[in-house]
Symmetry: C2
Subunit: 211 residues, 2 copies
Amino acid sequence: MTTRALGSAEETELGRAERDIRARLGDRPFDFRSMAAISNIYRAATTVRNHMEQQVLAVHGLSWSAFTVMWVLWIWGEQETGRVAAETGTTKGTLTGVLKTLESRRLVLRSAHPDDGRRVLVRLSPRGQAVIEELFPRFNAEETFAASALTAAEADQLAHLLRLVSARVDSARGEAAPRGAQRDGPTLTARRSGRTFGSQRPPGRGTGRGS
Amino acid sequence: MTTRALGSAEETELGRAERDIRARLGDRPFDFRSMAAISNIYRAATTVRNHMEQQVLAVHGLSWSAFTVMWVLWIWGEQETGRVAAETGTTKGTLTGVLKTLESRRLVLRSAHPDDGRRVLVRLSPRGQAVIEELFPRFNAEETFAASALTAAEADQLAHLLRLVSARVDSARGEAAPRGAQRDGPTLTARRSGRTFGSQRPPGRGTGRGS
DNA sequence: TCCCGGTCGTTCGGCCGCGAACGGTATCCC
DNA sequence: GGGATACCGTTCGCGGCCGAACGACCGGGA
């Protein structure tokens, strides 16, 4: 309640849209509260991604995905492509394409795994290293800007609530139809979503003292 | 703080990832709080979208975007394509493609605007109407599930915080480089993002008693 | 040794997504 | 009225994105 931010018509505008929706659906027992919470996630995500691509990434012609891959390689160093895919939240097939793009621009390098012929290792090139080190401070500055309508406590709260949603949805992987069922299906390629704070940890890094 | 939900290792896992990031970047003055808040938005959005497409939309082979378009037409009725584009948060070019897909499946109908030869009107076909009415309750049920780790107050708070972020980023449209500058650039196609609660209102609907 | 199931990265087809460019249309202003 | 201007939806090129299919490769077992 502290930061209302911007003298915009935000609340009234949104109220109008919601009123239209209720006028159309109000006689049916839908969960408008969850609808607002969930739908706004996608809305904010698209807004932020477009902003970053236009304001920060455009100077190097990078997409959000390409940047994310470079970020992962920057933080955790050389990785197997499968791990990068999981960490960036895409499928292996998608990652192949992104890597092809990055490789064509000489930003990353692929190399064969020494012990396993199936695996492929990826790492930043010196050029890629320079690009991410130039880009990330600007990227982070825009993150600060995007969160600047929030108090510190609100930013923490936002991250926390989003993690709860992600964890909840992740917990339902591999199910079929009904909501009540317990999860059992193990067969599904590991999938993560988005940059940073994925739940995969890098290999050979601190074991984090178990549970 | 009330709902911790799932006996998962969520917090410790995320803590480990964040610790790795700080180990790599901690000596530099980055804004880790904003980083966590913003990056988790994208992560949650992807997770939710994939979940919806797999659990709800797959039975009709619809994408999130196609569903969103049908939703808009369902709630607000026949619309000009430009308005649908703004409401769904895509460009006009993208919408043309989505409409082509929907039209090929006989879910929407295009018609010429009576008074303006440039405009095109879109509406749900009877078949499309039936599909969205079957699909939306299931969709909303999954929204409820996705938000089920949150209390009612937390869900409201999440929506509120996300709206603040969206509004903040939207306010920066048309700028170039420096953060301090005031916005001036008017030339930019109206852009919204995501389903529901966009700030565009339908034409000819209640005027909402102005400001 | 030779299968054989499992795993890895790539390829493929289809769709979404963007900005830029294009043709058709309306509107403003003289 | 007639031309400049602005607007609308479509098209285009390129890249991201997914699931499925594929070929290469690993490991274990007889």
